[in-house]
């Protein structure tokens, strides 16, 4: 039986394997959202969190660049009232806005013939169209991870880019190795797929912002 975890559970699971996500806080009402936002500093992002929420962007369940307590309170109120029973919403995630011109995607996929794989690609809304992706069988070594980065066609995105320094390869390798650990873990339910999307390059540092994990119980 396959199960898709909520965003916060997805992040929590991957964090146990060493993926360091951008900070965020799960809140249940607009006032706590403001407290969280003030803690991070503005601007912040807010998004509805729940196990069954897909197509968040399309449904307007992600609000970006909220710049004041007033904006946060309004947005969080709207998100909570937009939740449908099927979403199984657990609250709203408030996070500082992570900004960067470059987005990558990293993840785990289970190939029907080759089993668990680790993937790195150019992210963003055009990820599928750009299709600049490298894949390796899990587990991967540090060298495999370095070569996955090298294999991407869009090396211009990895080098210094629009005033930002080059991507911190060691940090990116750490993300891929953590995913490899998650894909090959022998405890708990098997991670059959995982997305770290987006993986925003912020000042050269890859910052995992969001995650979605799909698990299957071991038999």
């Amino acid at each position: 039986m396959r199960r898709t975890l909520s965003e916060s559970d997805s992040q929590a699971l991957l964090a146990t394997y060493g993926v360091r996500f951008a900070p965020e806080e799960l809140v249940g009402d607009p006032d706590s959202a403001v407290v969280a936002a003030e803690g991070f500093g503005y601007p912040v992002a807010a998004k509805l969190c729940g196990e069954n929420i897909a197509h968040k962007t399309e449904r307007g369940l992600v609000r970006l660049s909220l710049r004041s307590a007033h904006e946060v309170r309004a947005a969080v109120g709207e998100l909570l009232s937009a939740a449908l029973p099927d979403d199984r919403a657990t609250g709203v995630l408030v996070a500082p806005m992570i900004r960067g011109d470059r987005e990558l995607i990293a993840g785990i996929a289970t190939d029907p013939q080759f089993g668990p794989t680790v993937m790195l690609g150019v992210g963003g809304v055009m990820a599928e169209a750009v299709a600049d992706v490298s894949v390796r069988l899990a587990p991967i070594t540090q060298l495999d991870a370095a070569e996955m980065i090298e294999e991407l066609r869009s090396q211009a995105l990895i080098a210094a880019f629009r005033g930002e320094p080059p991507v911190d390869r060691d940090a990116l390798i750490e993300v891929l190795l953590s995913l490899s650990d998650a894909a090959t873990a022998t405890e708990g339910a098997t991670v059959v797929s995982a997305d770290i999307n987006p993986l925003i390059i912020c000042g050269g540092v890859p910052v995992p912002v969001d995650a979605l994990v799909e698990q299957q119980e071991r038999r």
Binding site: T4, A54, F114, E147, M148, V192, E214
Partner: protein
């Protein structure tokens, strides 16, 4: 089964003490005739036997009425052309005759349907019990040049060499062997796995990795069932020898159902690319790229780095080749070192390019090409050379030979014969120099000209082939082959440290 024992069984497939064609036919259109013909015609070194029901003589071979008439211990390979129902009995008799590991590529027993599959499973189990290696069915046979063995139902028989071919499709064995005939770069073993009921492409690749006659493995694969086992085989083989893989069905696999984007981005084709990169296998995207990569591994040294120099006798070729090198990010167009430029200045009039690509611009005299080639190949800041412009003069010589003014050989009334002989000698010399320098420096030197295809008899390409190397039909193909060399060299360097 132990590795040594397995290896011995496969060795007996490729170097059998003797061969039996079971079901030999008097009809030249039947597999039972063609296979016997090919075994005899290609000069197999061991004894050849045949069986058929009426004990007739086929191609001078007196057929036994049954395998049971065969003396013990004289053959290891049975090429099975008998109707399917006889096979189980055949295997039992073979085992009783002391076939070390008799092996059988039955050409046409693959039957669809439940009954066919059940029979197949029974046959595999029986072969396993008897210690018999079963190849096929629906393969086209086995080639092994160290034994002069062409146990195949199709042509060609390739020149001897060190490329080991294993294919899931018989057609691709033929293709690779035809490429071998065209380039002169030879084959050690070739086998098509057919339906692969008992032995599959990875099994043969494992054998090739241990086979002293084979220096490069070349595989064609389609459907992959046990991916992890295939990946492990690739790793084992590529750790010791170059392994070139052409995979069919590369575009078939699409998105997989998954919650996120990774599932749709990690297509099975990209996964296979990753498997090759991770294991050190060389993935080629076309049949000619696959063969030429294998042939290049078999005949050129691995470069120490990726800095490439281009040597050409005419401008345009050099420019386009430099473009191709720059486009491949695994290669680097070498910056011409000052001392090398000064040294070449001594040999050429000032109109030469004075940069890489090194364009001699028609300034060469009798010994310039080999001399410049030596300076370039020996320079420590050059890792590989692409050599262009071979055979132009010999091509003109051909036109003079055939043009009606050549005259009777030995009566050189127009002075043509002397110049024809000179040009042909020179182009052969240039090709030989390239091969010798490559061996002396341990650096790849790849010679490319479309004359290899347009006029294969040209003295230049002929001498490249005589030196045992590929004369690439275009600079682009030479550059692609070089990319594969550079990638493998890098793979080994990184994993060694």
């Amino acid at each position: 089964m132990s590795v040594a024992r397995t290896h011995e069984r496969y060795r007996a497939l490729f170097e059998p003490r003797g061969v039996v064609v079971a079901g030999a036919s008097t009809h030249p259109g039947k597999f039972g005739f063609v296979s016997l013909h090919n075994i005899l015609a290609c000069g197999y070194r061991g004894d050849v036997f045949a069986t058929n029901r009426d004990g007739s003589t086929v191609l001078g071979v007196d057929c036994l009425r049954s395998l049971s008439e065969l003396p013990e211990g004289v053959a290891d390979l049975i090429f099975v052309c008998t109707p399917k129902s006889v096979n189980a009995e055949l295997l039992r008799v073979a085992a009783s005759k002391g076939f070390a590991p008799p092996s059988s590529p039955p050409p046409d027993t693959g039957e669809a349907g439940e009954q066919g599959r059940r029979d197949e499973r029974e046959l595999v189990a029986l072969a396993e019990d008897l210690g018999i290696l079963l190849v096929g069915p629906n393969g086209q046979g086995v080639v092994s040049t160290p034994a002069s063995l062409c146990a195949q139902i199709v042509a060609p028989y390739p020149p001897a060499g060190s490329i080991g071919v294993a294919s899931q499709s018989g057609n691709f064995v033929s293709s690779f062997l035809n490429w071998s005939c065209a380039t002169g770069v030879g084959i050690s073993r070739a086998v098509s796995a057919g339906n692969a009921v008992a032995t599959s492409v990875p099994d043969f690749l494992d054998f090739y990795s241990q086979d002293p006659e084979t220096s490069v493995a070349l595989a064609y694969m389609e459907g992959i069932e046990d991916g992890r086992s295939v990946a492990a085989t690739f790793s084992r083989v590529a750790a010791v020898k170059p392994l070139v893989v052409l995979k069919g069905g590369a575009t078939a696999g699409g998105a997989r159902a998954a919650a996120g984007h990774t599932g749709s981005l990690a297509t099975d084709d990209r996964t296979f690319t990753g498997v090759c990169a991770q294991s050190g296998a060389t993935r080629a995207s076309t049949a000619e790229e696959a063969f030429e990569a294998a042939a290049t591994f078999a005949t050129q040294p691995l470069p120490a780095g990726n800095r490439v120099a281009v040597l050409t006798t005419a401008g345009g070729w050099g420019v386009v080749t430099a473009d191709a090198i720059v486009r491949h990010r695994d290669l680097e167009l070498a910056t011409l070192p000052d001392d090398l430029r000064d040294a070449i200045d001594e040999l050429l009039p000032p109109r030469w390019s004075r940069s890489n690509p090194i364009d001699l611009a028609g300034g060469e005299t009798r010994d310039t090409v080999p001399e410049v080639l030596r300076l370039v190949a020996e320079h420590e800041e050059v890792d590989a050379v692409v050599h262009l412009g071979l055979g132009i003069q010999a091509n003109q010589a051909r036109m003079m030979r055939e043009g009606g003014y050549y005259g009777v050989e030995g009566e050189d009334t127009n002075g043509i014969q002397r110049i024809v002989a000179y040009h042909e000698r020179q182009d052969a010399r240039f090709a030989e120099a390239a091969a010798e320098l490559s061996m002396a420096t341990g650096k790849p030197i790849l010679t490319a000209t479309e004359l290899a295809m347009a006029f294969p008899g040209n003295a230049g390409p002929t001498a490249v082939r005589a030196a045992g190397r590929v004369c690439y039909q275009s600079a682009d193909r030479a550059v692609t082959a070089l990319v594969h060399l550079v990638r493998r060299a890098r793979f080994l360097q990184r994993r060694a440290s």
